[in-house]
Symmetry: C2
Subunit: 413 residues, 2 copies
């Protein structure tokens, strides 16, 4: 089954806004067995939208359109849909009531523009938008489905999750897909692929394996599109085989982000963590606190972007800073133990390195980082060397810090 | 002049990778006077790539393709280009030497796959890639240009900036475009648009005005596509008029990010800054340190994600925490002065608020934040109330903290 996606918006074509809708839709549709065949981005222009619809209906079973439905636009999207499907716009009282109610709550009166939002193609199935004023629309032709949604990511996701994906599953009578996701760390994608190649070949024909690499981790996703009663035990057996091949590398048996896993492990132990960051400059803290509820286990960070703060606030030895340099095992370990004591936590993780583009040397090139983890019983540190790009280095340093914290916590079980 | 963009990659169509190349290309081309007509994303598949090229050549003067050139791919992109342009692949010795040299530096021997990277269409203009192994390729037909580039953002940007944009300017004999960008804060886009609407109408016909909104700031870009000797003084006069309409809101007269402006202002004064963050959890620090060279003026942060750390490390009064709550003017100001003294800096900025989704109350709903700025002479604080989305709130809180720091620094001039 194929999907096609049409992203509408001048703001995307001038590069002002990055489209994040198409990757989200592709990922979610992939989970239920669809492959996105193409994504076409066009401006708020009738002819372009019309051509894109033709192209997508040619190659896809389901077409998703986002954008071009706001109150300040020309409603051009809806007009084009009417032309394509030989129908006309009619006022939908239910949508109008929803728009009026939404605006009323914010103390805003209904304008003529807003009334326009309640116009929908006469033959459309209207998909009520509980989180915004523009409704979703579903059209059907020759068994193919076309959905038009608002471009605001938050609204689009809400409509997809609550209304559209269930509708698609029902329309195509889709069986649920069985997924098992494993999270691995400490191994490069190419080496993992080599190590598990025989195991991969041994998988049953109806099992699909996807590698989903991220900074400092790789997700392996096993999908079975026609699952039966034996699927779960079969997959569990294959996972056990995999554990014997890469025993050190599997850190989770679910689709979870590193920062979420940190939280899950800490909550499970009723433990707390703190961070001390030099080169990552708050990125590790920022990742940990991106998780809702992180205040339960995260107490804080000292971002020590200069040696003075490393010494004065974290208690790193000035003599060691002088002798070994800030980017060293010794300093990383003292930062971790220092912040663990200062913030009174069970665990702590520290980073000190050279993100670049300047500051590197032959001995310690740009991309070098020392990461230390302090636990209730010990402190360990490790060096990593990455590339030359500052922004990517910061991402990799931070993800490596989370991975190392996870590995050390899991070792203590 | 129109541009078309083709993004190639299965990893994008399964939603594993977000395409950031097309928005970057669109933005840069827009600066030199091109409008992107469409962006088409397709998989590593000959027919899809071929159709996308046809479609783009139909609507655009210049076509950019990224991806599908790596050593592990099928080089399908280059084969399709050969078919389209009636030529064949030949080995380019110069590219081969570049690939061998690049790999040699990393101690890697040339493989058959790598030799494939040195194959280019016989009629292509080869664009040497100084930062990677896959070369760029330029094809020409009926005055239209087609460029094929590697998909790695870093390599694509390098090729565009150093080779391709200069080539395009030369090919089309483009006059330089005159741009003047202003950075504004403290005003909503809709209110700004209303306030400056007469001024906007008064602009000469050949001046284009673009609103580029971001979190807590708006960029106004004035572009003149046929500049002459009078352009600069004309634009300066219009900017002076604008200053009289929104005197409080213009914080920079160049295209600069908030975090870069913070750095520029601090360096200009030989001053330093520190941050104390609660609800932003390291995001402000992370933004400031994303700027290369920030260690010159940024000393660090205390992320105090619990009251204990606010009191113990930053010296916030426990009585005030109890009396006013953590999300209050008093606590924000004490955090700012506390971290300013602890880290011995000239300036400090502090955030304390409720990012959500939980933790809100009627009095202090989710989205509320108090931000305080401490300067050598005073401490000020201000409350902002944003929305319900945790991730967006954190971005807005952090950007508002930077804006407020900038405004307070500029006041002290």
């Amino acid at each position: 089954m194929n999907a096609g996606i049409i992203i509408i918006g001048d703001e995307i074509l001038i590069g002002q806004v990055v489209d994040i809708n198409s990757s989200w839709i592709s990922r979610e549709m992939n989970k239920i067995g669809f492959r996105t065949e193409t994504v076409i981005t066009v401006g708020d222009d009738g002819k372009s939208i019309s051509d894109a619809i033709d192209r997508c209906l040619e190659v896809a079973d389901v077409v998703f359109m986002t954008g071009g439905l706001g109150p300040t636009k020309d409603d051009i999207t809806k007009k084009v849909i009417c032309e394509k499907f030989g129908t006309e716009l009619v006022l939908n009282e239910e949508v109008l009531a929803n728009v009026a109610e939404m605006l009323g709550r914010r103390g805003i009166a209904l304008t003529e523009n807003n009334r326009g939002q309640a116009l929908v193609p006469a033959t459309a199935t209207v998909i009520n938008n509980a989180v915004g004023t523009a409704p979703g629309i579903m059209m059907e032709r020759n068994g193919k489905l076309l959905f038009s949604m608002p471009g605001v990511p938050f609204e689009m996701r809400y409509l997809m999750e609550h209304e559209i994906i269930p509708l698609i599953k029902k329309h195509y009578n889709l069986k649920p897909v069985f997924h098992k996701t494993l999270l691995l760390t400490g191994i490069a994608e190419s080496i993992l692929a080599e190590k598990i190649s025989d195991w991969e070949d041994s998988l049953a024909k109806n099992v699909r394996l996807a590698y989903l690499p991220a900074y400092s981790s790789i997700r392996l996703r096993l999908s079975v599109y026609q699952p039966d009663d034996t699927t779960e035990s079969y997959i569990n057996a294959k996972v056990e085989e995999l554990e014997r091949i890469v025993p050190e590398n599997i850190i989770a048996y679910e689709d979870i982000k590193l920062e979420e896993l940190v939280g899950k492990l800490l909550k499970g132990r009723h433990c707390t963590v703190a961070t001390a960051e030099s080169c990552t400059g708050g990125k590790v803290a920022s990742l940990i606190t991106s998780v809702s509820g992180s205040s339960e286990y995260y107490k804080g960070s000292v971002v020590s972007y200069c040696n003075e703060v490393k010494a004065d606030v974290l208690g790193v030895s000035r003599a060691d800073l002088e002798k070994y340099g800030a980017v060293s095992s010794t300093v990383a370990e003292q930062m971790a133990t220092g912040v663990r004591h200062l913030l009174k936590t069970d665990y702590a993780v520290a980073t000190t390195g050279i993100a670049g583009p300047t500051g590197g040397s032959d001995e310690k090139p740009v991309g070098t980082v020392w990461i230390a983890v302090a636990t209730p019983t010990k402190v360990v540190s490790r060096k990593y060397v990455f590339g030359k790009d500052r922004a990517i280095n910061i991402e990799r340093f931070a993800a490596s810090a989370l991975s190392m914290l996870i590995v050390e916590m899991e070792k203590e079980c």
